[in-house]
Every structure is written in structure tokens, then in C-alpha cells.
């Protein structure tokens, strides 16, 4: 199993370690509920070093990426980050990614990309296939760096003060390199929790000291390490899609209510024709939120039912710690997708009443 620069730290500090996409990662330290609450009310630290970090050394990256992403990448302003999908020729979603255009400390203007851990090798192979001479200057920086998410209402003020850089003034989905203790640190106003916060990319050798500094400075304010369990409940309350659940190669983005991640106008990219065809075809599904009665959570693959007919499928579900009730995301027939609609969810043979609700389930105050 792969280890992040922080894996040993987690194991030594009570992390319950699991295999996640081939990486040894903490699923929780003591309680998912407590870690979840810390992120909503104070702040939590997540090791997300398992995610793939790719750097593109050449300016040609702009046109290479533009031909492979559903969002318009060409002309991205310096310092801006875009959420995008990458699709195959059939419109199947290969991954959802963040594309960064950054000024590096030496003044260079470079593209970076963060991809899901489970898709890193696939995406690298895909990039190599479409850019066989590596005009884009692709380098896999996953093993040379660590990535730490600091998320919660107290995260930005603390990181702002600690780094002595203007972090509080950064816009959502922007990033910048700062020099911290003599090393380059990439700070972005991004996250996967529905809270304000930052994600930090540091050289591997600096990961433990950075992690411990933030924890130490935030200890009195209630900062705590949080695992993948809380990361999942937080992203689900915030209705953020997760690859392998809401997104997959079997899914065309047009069938999945992912219009916000697609720019078609005056662009050509792999998968475009298949997306346009799907938009004009049948079989459109809507991504909806469901709140279930009682306390029993629906999980992935539970059928959504109406009058004895299957009208959809749950893609993710849990007991929502903030809302204190079971929630789920599902793809369903648009005829049953309006907010307030009553449906049923079949949880292992038993039907449970559920209501279609507005997404996200939780928005920060």
C-alpha cells in the first residue's frame, strides 16, 4: 500500500487506517460525528495527499488540456482554478478534476491539475495518449508533495496569520504560491466540505511540520485532524459529487445534471459530440437530494421507487451528522424530481418514505 508523508503520523495518533484506492489513509481518529462537527464549527485538518497532483511545465498545456476538459480551460486567468470533467469519446466521465493556472515563485505561469487518487494512473495514461510527445510537459508531483485540507469557519483566519500572506483576501477557487519557511507552498481557496477553507500543497519533506504547526496553533480553537469518514459525510451534506458514486465512466454528464461543469460554446474537446447527442436524446436523469423518514440511512445502489416501479437509484447515502437525519443523493426520472415530491427508497427489501429536497442539504451560514 502507498503511504502519504503523513500516514505514519495518523497511525501514531489514533487514526483507524484503511486502504483507500491503494493508499493507507485514516478513516477516522475517534468519532466521525465529532470530526464532522469540528469542521462545521471550528476547523478540521485532512490529509488528502492520496489525490493525484500533476504539473505541466510547458505553455502547450493550455491547448492540450483545452482539448480534454468539459470546462473551458483556454484563457483561464492566472490564479484561477476551474472544476471540470474529463470524458472519453463516448461521453463517459473519466474523472472530475481541478485545473489551476498559477504563478510559481520563480514567476513562471503554469497549469496544475488535481485528480482523484483512484483515477490518477488512468488520467496520466489518457494525457499521454493525447499528447504522446508530452508537449504539455506533464510531471506527476504526487509523490514529491503532500496535500492538506484545512476546512471550517476558523481555517482561513488561522492560515492567513500563520503564513503571513493575504489568504483571507483570496477569492473562492483561486490559488497562489507563497514562500513559507523557505519552501514553496501552494495555497488554494478550495475544499470538499461545504465550509470555507484552504487546501495546501507542500513538498513532502515539509508535510509533517506543516500539519503539526497548524494543529498546534489551532488546538485552543478546537482544530482537530479528521479522516475520510468525515470527509464523506461533509461532502454529502454539501451535495458535492464523488467519483465512483455520482460520477463514472458509465455516465454521460448530460444525463447527470452536470451542466455547470460543461462549456460547449465554440469549443471542441473529447466527448463533446457524445454529450450534445445525449442532451438531445432520452434517458435524462436528474441528480436529487432525498431526506428519509426515521433514522435508517439508504446507501449506494438502493432503488428509488414510485408505485412499485423503480424510478431511480441512490448513489450515496449516510446519516447526516449536522442535520441528524438520513440523507441520500440519487439519480431519478425527471418526472419525479421536483422538490417536495414523495417517493420511497427500497433499503434491502423494505420500503422507506423519502422526500425530494433542494440541494445542497447544508449550506454554510
Amino acid at each position: 500500500m502507498q503511504k502519504t508523508p503523513l500516514t505514519d503520523w495518523h497511525a501514531a495518533h489514533g487514526g483507524k487506517m484503511v486502504d483507500f484506492a491503494g493508499w493507507s489513509m485514516p478513516v477516522q481518529y475517534d468519532s466521525i460525528m465529532a470530526e464532522h462537527a469540528a469542521v462545521r464549527c471550528q476547523a478540521g485538518l485532512f490529509d488528502v495527499s492520496h489525490m493525484g497532483r500533476l504539473r505541466f511545465a510547458s505553455a502547450a498545456a493550455e491547448s492540450v488540456l483545452e482539448g480534454l476538459t468539459t470546462r473551458k480551460i483556454a484563457g483561464t486567468p492566472l490564479g484561477k482554478i476551474r472544476y471540470s470533467l474529463m470524458c472519453n469519446e463516448h461521453g463517459g466521465i473519466l474523472d472530475d478534476v481541478l485545473v489551476y493556472r498559477l504563478r510559481e515563485l520563480d514567476g513562471g505561469d503554469k497549469f496544475w491539475m488535481v485528480v482523484n487518487a483512484s483515477n490518477r494512473e488512468k488520467i496520466i495514461a489518457w494525457l499521454q495518449r493525447h499528447d504522446p510527445n508530452n508537449q504539455a510537459g506533464l510531471e506527476d508531483r504526487t509523490f514529491a508533495t503532500a496535500m492538506i485540507a484545512v476546512q471550517g469557519p476558523l481555517a482561513v483566519p488561522l492560515v492567513h496569520e500563520m503564513l503571513g500572506a493575504d489568504i483571507a483576501g483570496m477569492g473562492y477557487y483561486t490559488g497562489q504560491f507563497v514562500e513559507y519557511r523557505g519552501y514553496p507552498l501552494l495555497v488554494s481557496r478550495t475544499g470538499y466540505t461545504g465550509e470555507d477553507g484552504v487546501e495546501l500543497i507542500a513538498p513532502s519533506e515539509n508535510a509533517v511540520s506543516l500539519w503539526e504547526s497548524i494543529l498546534e496553533k489551532g488546538a485552543m480553537a478546537g482544530f482537530r485532524p479528521a479522516g475520510l469518514g468525515a470527509r464523506d459525510t461533509l461532502r454529502l451534506e454539501a451535495a458535492m459529487p464523488l467519483y465512483g458514486h455520482e460520477l463514472s465512466e458509465e455516465l454521460n454528464p448530460a444525463h447527470a445534471d452536470l451542466g455547470f461543469a460543461i462549456n460547449l460554446k465554440d469549443r471542441q474537446f473529447v466527448g463533446r459530440d457524445a454529450i450534445v447527442a445525449a442532451q438531445n436524446g432520452t434517458g435524462i436523469r436528474r441528480r436529487v437530494g432525498l431526506e428519509l423518514e426515521g433514522r435508517r440511512p439508504a446507501r449506494e445502489h438502493c432503488p428509488v421507487m414510485m408505485d412499485g416501479q423503480v424510478v431511480g437509484m441512490v448513489t450515496s447515502g449516510t446519516f447526516a451528522p449536522t442535520l441528524q437525519k438520513p440523507i441520500a443523493m440519487a439519480y431519478i426520472d425527471p418526472a419525479y424530481a421536483e422538490v417536495g415530491r414523495l417517493v420511497e427508497v427500497d433499503i434491502r427489501g423494505k420500503l422507506h418514505p423519502a422526500t425530494v429536497v433542494k440541494l445542497p442539504f447544508y449550506s454554510r451560514p
Binding site: 478513516v27 468519532s31 466521525i32 460525528m33 459525510t233 433514522r295 440511512p297 446519516f319 451528522p321 434491502r348
Partner: protein, 128 residues
């Protein structure tokens, strides 16, 4: 009940069998180790009085925030009492798993042949 006096399944259910009115009645629950490993338990699905349970087969489910797990019966028999109120206060599972945290009482036809004594079960948990 003392943890030391109970029998266990590898899958972390405990059972205690007592004679009541000439019948063998098994009280069934899940171990402190299981409760700790599951963490943040939010719901349980339990059978109804009159249902039959089969040794080694699922009798219910325990839902934590993280995942759902099956619970397996240590005995063959018929359910005579269900601790349904536990769903409203699942904290008794961690506070008192071997007394107030009981889940089922079953009129026993026979016991599972896979029951472990405390020492063997404890050893299994430690090697986890």
C-alpha cells in the same frame, strides 16, 4: 453480565443462556469491541417477536455513520423479546453493551457450534 461469562461469535455477537420456566432463553447483544469499532451507531434493524433466527445467519443490521453491518445469530430459535426501545437511545450500546444494551431474547432450539469463550474471543480482537 460480565463480559468474561459470555460466549461470542467471531462476528462479535455475545450470547448468554439461562433457564427460565423450564426453557432455555438466550440473551443476545454485540460486544464492546464491535461497538467501539463501528463508532457513531445511528440505527439498528431488529427482528420481531415470533420471528425465527438461525445460528450463523443474519438477524439484523447495525448502521453507523460510516457503513451498515450485519449481525449474526449465535443460536437457533424463536425471538420472544426485542429491545426495540434501544433505537431511541443507542448510547446504551457503548455505555453498557452487556446489560442495558441487550438486543434480543430467543427461545433456544440449539446453539451455534461456533461459539467462543471470552479468552478466545478477546485474543481474536487483539489480533485485529
Amino acid at each position: 453480565m460480565n463480559a468474561e461469562d459470555l460466549k461470542y461469535l467471531e462476528s462479535h455477537e455475545w450470547v448468554s443462556v439461562a433457564q427460565q420456566n423450564g426453557q432455555q432463553i438466550a440473551t443476545i447483544g454485540i460486544s464492546a469491541f464491535a461497538v467501539e469499532q463501528l463508532g457513531d451507531i445511528v440505527h439498528m434493524e431488529l427482528p420481531s417477536v415470533g420471528d425465527s433466527v438461525t445460528a450463523g445467519e443474519e438477524f439484523g443490521e447495525v448502521e453507523s455513520v460510516k457503513a451498515v453491518s450485519s449481525m449474526y445469530s449465535p443460536v437457533n430459535g424463536e425471538v420472544v423479546e426485542v429491545h426495540s426501545a434501544i433505537v431511541d437511545d443507542l448510547s446504551v450500546l457503548s455505555d453498557d453493551p452487556y446489560e442495558k444494551g441487550w438486543l434480543l431474547k430467543v427461545k433456544v432450539d440449539s446453539l451455534s457450534d461456533g461459539l467462543l469463550d471470552y479468552a478466545t474471543y478477546k485474543k481474536q480482537c487483539e489480533s485485529h
